[in-house]
Amino acid sequence: MAQVYFEDVTVGAAIPDLVKGPMSTAHIMRWSAAMENWHRIHYDWRYATAHDKLPDVVVNGSWKQHVMIQLLADWAGEGGWPWKLRFQFRGMNLPGETLTAWGRVKAKEARGRFGVVELEIGLRNEKGEEGTPGNATVVLPRRDGPPVPYPFDPRVLDQAAVS
């Protein structure tokens, strides 16, 4: 993906979606096993439905959060930085769903030699139901400026632009 620059960003515009799925029980099992997460609602259908009264086993919130992080890291590119991310697990997602991580620019501000972009983000299923609403802050390079320094130190945003 080509580097996105602060000047390319328009308030109200969407960033590229990140689509995962359709999610299967195998996807859920693969993540649970990799993370050694033994919460029964992710693999024990009888427990999930009979004991916890859920419609099915559910996609791990811990998995969903990394999809949101990936959305931002992909968009920021190696010249930018996905600085902050906040979200709530509001709704469950089930096997069979296709999940789309999305973002929309709420505001942008030039700070020092860089640009700071505020985004509304979420993870919705194919019916358009939003289950993980949140917002994020991404730091982008400016077209005539340097890449965002790595490791990221927020103090770079307070340093004056070099003329």
């Binding site: 993540w31 993370m35 190696e78 709530q88 490791p151």
Partner: protein
């Protein structure tokens, strides 16, 4: 009126901090691989050593959220699956963070309410990860379905040099 679960004993946990504890083992390439394959995130910085070495990371790195899952069960800790024969056991341990005492609230269901993250750098493959945790707040809300107790946990993750990797604020919900 629901029962008040925020007893003096629970209230005393607000502000309690853990020691700075080390993850179970250094970041392993195989664990990173299983992570990025399970999240279907094919970025070369996780697997293409030559390219990662030339880029801004200088070496293979783990996905940004990887440290959150690096605190695996150490060999000396009891096997949580020993309790799977109990019909009501949900598979989760109630010690939410190593080094923080469990919160004595007798509500059966544990839900993850969400996270706030602030990222500074990736953990590198081979690096040691450390975490310091703190109960920022513990409070109760009474809804239609009964009482819910919110546990707000701050975590600061660093590498062995003390360089910050990420900070998080996680809200866990007991109901």
């Amino acid at each position: 009126m629901a029962l008040d679960y925020i007893t003096a004993e629970v209230k005393a946990l607000i502000g309690v901090e853990s020691a700075r504890l080390e993850a179970t083992h250094p970041v392993e390439a195989s664990e990173v691989r299983r992570f990025f394959q399970a999240t279907m995130d094919p970025a070369p910085r996780y697997w293409d050593a030559a390219r990662a070495g030339r880029g801004r990371y200088g070496a293979l790195v783990a996905p940004l959220g990887f440290p959150v899952h690096a605190f695996r069960r150490p060999p000396e800790r009891a096997d949580p699956l020993d309790a799977m024969g109990e019909a009501d056991f949900d598979g989760r341990e109630r010690t939410l963070r190593a080094g923080l005492p469990a919160v004595p609230v007798p509500l059966p269901r544990l839900l993850n309410g969400g996270y706030e993250y602030e990222f500074f750098r990736h953990a590198r493959v081979g690096e040691r990860i450390f975490r310091k945790s703190r109960y920022r707040d513990i409070y109760q809300r009474d809804g239609k379905s009964g009482a819910m107790v919110f546990l707000v946990i701050e975590d600061v993750y660093t590498n062995e040099a003390g360089e910050p990797l990420l900070k998080s604020v996680n809200t866990m919900i007991l109901r």
